[in-house]
């Protein structure tokens, strides 16, 4: 109980918070420990979806280690709110989104410099409290009125994806709550206040020992790709492209996989 309480508190206090992480020492001209000299120098700002926090923080550190004269600043928030910020002229060089539609909107507005490239994939899983008290073993259980079931609200990406998977499986869900974001849904399942929820596989991993995942039937396993692109109004297009290249490289791929995402 104590662990789940702590996890719950950590999750609720962190929920919805816009986290901004500045990496590196910001110093220019210092020679890197491995002496790599790539000629790149300056600061690059990356806007990334909140669900990519761990991946992008590590990728930024790795990029800075490789390019000693470069500082990477990453700002994390919901894909949609970052999209709005970029449209409103926020100074960003790279955008990594959790939803193709937000990237498409920026492409349509002429905000992208290059083509979006998918660098990570994620898929839906059923999340249940440790011990699976509701004996949930598939999507059909989400239509069970006797169970306490949570979904993401249809307005947010995980909710849209979830409804699609349920429709493909021919299940009419009986949700007791439609949570405004995936983390608040995970929080309620981890606390044992719901018998089942539909979240991303990476969220099940983030839930640790308090939750278990139930894989979906591969026929309906809904998958999403995370695209990244350089932005048209970037002041540092060379560094921005180098960062995107690094993200889709083998090094980037291993970082992505180490956090539970699938490589593209």
């Amino acid at each position: 109980m104590t662990t789940s309480l702590r996890a719950l508190l950590a999750a609720v206090t962190g929920a919805g918070m816009l986290t901004s992480v500045a990496c590196g020492d910001g110093g220019r001209g210092a020679a890197g420990p491995d002496g790599a000299d790539t000629g790149l120098a300056g600061t690059v700002t990356v806007f990334a979806a909140a669900s990519l926090t761990d991946v992008l923080t590590e990728a930024a550190d790795a990029f800075e280690a490789q390019h000693p004269d470069v500082t990477v600043e990453v700002s994390f928030a919901g894909s949609q709110s970052l999209r709005e910020q970029i449209l409103a002229g926020a100074p960003a060089d790279v955008y990594a989104s959790a939803d193709g539609t937000d990237m498409d909107a920026l492409a349509a507005a002429g905000e992208l410099a290059g083509h979006p490239r998918v660098f990570a994939r994620n898929s839906l899983q059923i999340v249940v409290p440790a011990g699976n008290p509701g004996a949930v073993d598939g999507l059909a259980d989400l239509g069970e009125p006797g169970l306490l079931v949570g979904l993401c609200a249809p307005e947010v990406p995980c909710g849209r994806l979830g409804l699609r998977a349920l429709a493909e499986a021919g299940v009419t869900p009986e949700p007791d709550t439609e949570e405004p974001d995936v983390r608040s849904l995970l929080t309620k399942v981890a606390a044992g206040e719901l018998d089942a929820g539909l979240v991303y596989r990476t969220d099940v991993l983030a839930g640790g020992d308090d939750v278990e995942g139930v894989a979906l039937d591969p026929a309906v396993a809904a998958e999403i790709g995370y695209p990244v692109a350089t932005l048209a109004r970037s002041d540092e297009p060379d560094i921005a492209s180098a960062f995107v290249d690094a993200l889709v490289s083998d090094t980037g791929r291993s970082i992505v996989e180490s956090h539970g995402f699938a490589a593209p």
Binding site: L8, T13, A153, E155, P180, T187, G192, E193
Partner: protein, 266 residues
């Protein structure tokens, strides 16, 4: 009972005027900006949708119920804090104020730990009777009451502390019981504070978001109040979100404006 004196209108000290204007502008400007972004042409259609009418009904009902519960428990609590001496009173008052300073989502999580299916009190209640507060209108009311009750207690306690105790003493001297004194003397004397506290309480409950979504969840027609509907609309349809916000503002003003004078009488 209280002597009301109408004072001649006075001119404010010159130094206050610009600061007052700045403060007012700061408060009003965001609402002007909201009005300027409002989708006036599609407003009627947006506000007629079942999602909106459901949310409005749930908001009004839950805020009213929370205010009623707060009056029921909050007035006696304010009286105890204002009129009795007991060890640890300062600590109790601080605890009463906690929901005002706590981030509401943390308050919602705490409610879940207490009244959820696995909660301190919730678990035995659920196992024994199947009773479950979360995911129901009762859960929304509980969350609203938790965050709004302190506003009533603080306001009524301040009223009780500034009220003239001699009237109560006189009533007692004339043979009135303690209950009669409370009902016929104390309560009418602090009525403006009670009204003010109830209005603050209602307004806070109407706008409640964090504790509600964390404790009661979000489901249209069952637990989705106006603030939850606005938050989700922001994710997908900004016009709808602004229309909903304006409706919430209109409902609040409809209650706050007529009550202003009674409130100020305190």
């Amino acid at each position: 009972m209280t002597v009301r004196r109408r004072r001649a209108r006075t001119r404010p000290p010159a130094a206050l005027v610009p600061l007052a204007v700045i403060a007012l502008t700061f408060l009003v400007l965001p609402f002007v900006a909201l009005l300027q972004r409002a989708p006036w042409s599609s407003m009627g259609d947006l506000l007629g949708e079942p999602l909106v009418t459901d949310a409005l009904r749930l908001s009004v009902v839950s805020a009213l119920a929370a205010t009623g519960l707060s009056l029921l428990g909050g007035v006696p609590l304010a009286w105890v804090l204002a009129r009795t001496e007991f060890p640890g009173r300062a600590f109790v008052r601080a605890v009463v104020l906690l929901p005002m300073v706590l981030p509401p989502v943390v308050g919602g999580a705490a409610l879940l730990f207490a009244f959820g299916r696995r909660g301190l009190v919730g678990a035995p209640a659920y196992d024994g009777t199947g009773l479950l507060l979360p995911y129901s209108l009762a859960g929304v009311i509980a969350a609203n009451t938790f965050v709004a009750l302190p506003f009533l207690v603080v306001t009524v306690e301040a009223g009780l502390r500034t009220a003239d105790r001699r009237y109560e003493d006189a009533a007692a001297t004339l043979g009135a019981s303690r209950w009669t004194t409370f009902r016929r003397v104390t309560l009418p004397m602090v009525a403006p504070s009670v009204v003010a506290g109830a209005v603050l309480c209602w307004a806070r409950a109407l706008g409640e978001f964090g504790a509600t979504v964390t404790f009661a969840g979000n489901l249209q027609g069952r637990t989705q109040t106006m603030p939850l509907a606005v938050f989700l609309a922001l994710e997908s349809d900004r016009d709808a979100a602004i229309a909903l916000s304006l409706l919430l503002i209109a409902v609040s003003l409809a209650v706050l404006v007529p009550l202003r004078d009674r409130w100020l009488a305190a």
